[in-house]
Amino acid sequence: MDADNLTRFAIRKMSEHKISARHLDESDEIVIFGSRSAGLERPNSDIDILCIGRSGQKLKTASLDLIVVHPDEVQKANWLGNELASHIARYGTWMKGNPEWVKDVRIGSAAVDAKQRRIAAFLRALPARWENFDDSFRQKYTTKLRRETQRLLLLERGIAIPPTRVLDESWSTFSIANREVEERVVGSMRPGESRFRRDLLDKIMTALDDQKAVPIPFQAPR
């Protein structure tokens, strides 16, 4: 989908969700990001939109994910060094406004630390629940921990986080060995917890090894 069609699609979705024209008028910037902006959407993919403005409310539905950030916030180090800002700066399609803050985006140590803490928190919380979890949740957290570990490895290298589909289908794009993902998960685990460890690592490695030999083609907008 080219930028014009993408913009039309975004306006239609916002209109369907009764996002008022006033809200759009009052936003300094409106940016489409995520899989649709990178041209990697699936038929049922939602559309992710960032509004930088002084008013408006976030909205999260199956087909539209709208986040609102205050203009003062995007000038701050917390935003500029953040995982989401780096993703939007790299993969965003601007519908409105000028992306001036983008030139100041740098993935900071705070983003790396936050990701490490998130992975550690899951690995701390999961073992005690693992045996009693429904299978669907075991699968959910296996996928989540794989993706978050992939994101951590990218953040540590100063690489903007790509849409999730790239992590799932085109990990080889980044020339980071599958084994490194496994080693990072193992390194964050506590000793013991044998079933949890075995399940998690088996499923993570299977998902990575099963990726297609030919990665999906993806072209970042900027």
Binding site: D48, K60, D65, I67, E73, K76, N78, W79, N82, E83, L84, A85, H87, A110, A111, A114, K115, R117, R118, A121, F122, R124, A125, L126, R129, N132, F133, D134, S136, F137, K140, Y141, E148, R151, I161
Partner: protein
Amino acid sequence: MGTETKTKRIPSLKVLEAIAEGLEEILAYFGWQVSTASGSTSINGEPEVEENVLDETDSIDEDEHDEGEEEYFDREEVEVAVDAFISSLSASGVIRENRHGKLPSFGTVFAKFFGDEGEVAVLAGAFENDVKGYMGWISPDEMLSAKKRFMSIFGSVQEMLEEKMHGR
């Protein structure tokens, strides 16, 4: 408590007990507080304090809040606890997978037992959205809102359970 709506329901005592027990386990993960007197929180929703400061403030009593102190929680632990709650309801036969083999979400569980538009179900759906975040990002407002909503859900369920147990 709460506003009556057309689709508000109260489930059986057995179901209420199972839900109340599960909520109590989740509640345990909403405990810790940090000082945000400077008003500074990171965009990741993580308070900008060193780890050792968290440890020190971990045991602050509810009544000892300073002005400017806000409450946060470890949303990963809450997410895991919520999924354990759903697994437990499924294992005890209170809920079942849908025809696609998927278990209901937290919000859907409450919609099923308390009615689509019941106050508790609406709160549960909003709570679910609050804690999701985006790409590891969650705003401090969402963190606070999630905690407030969970507390309201917990309080309402406890109240309904009391009423049911005492036949009121």
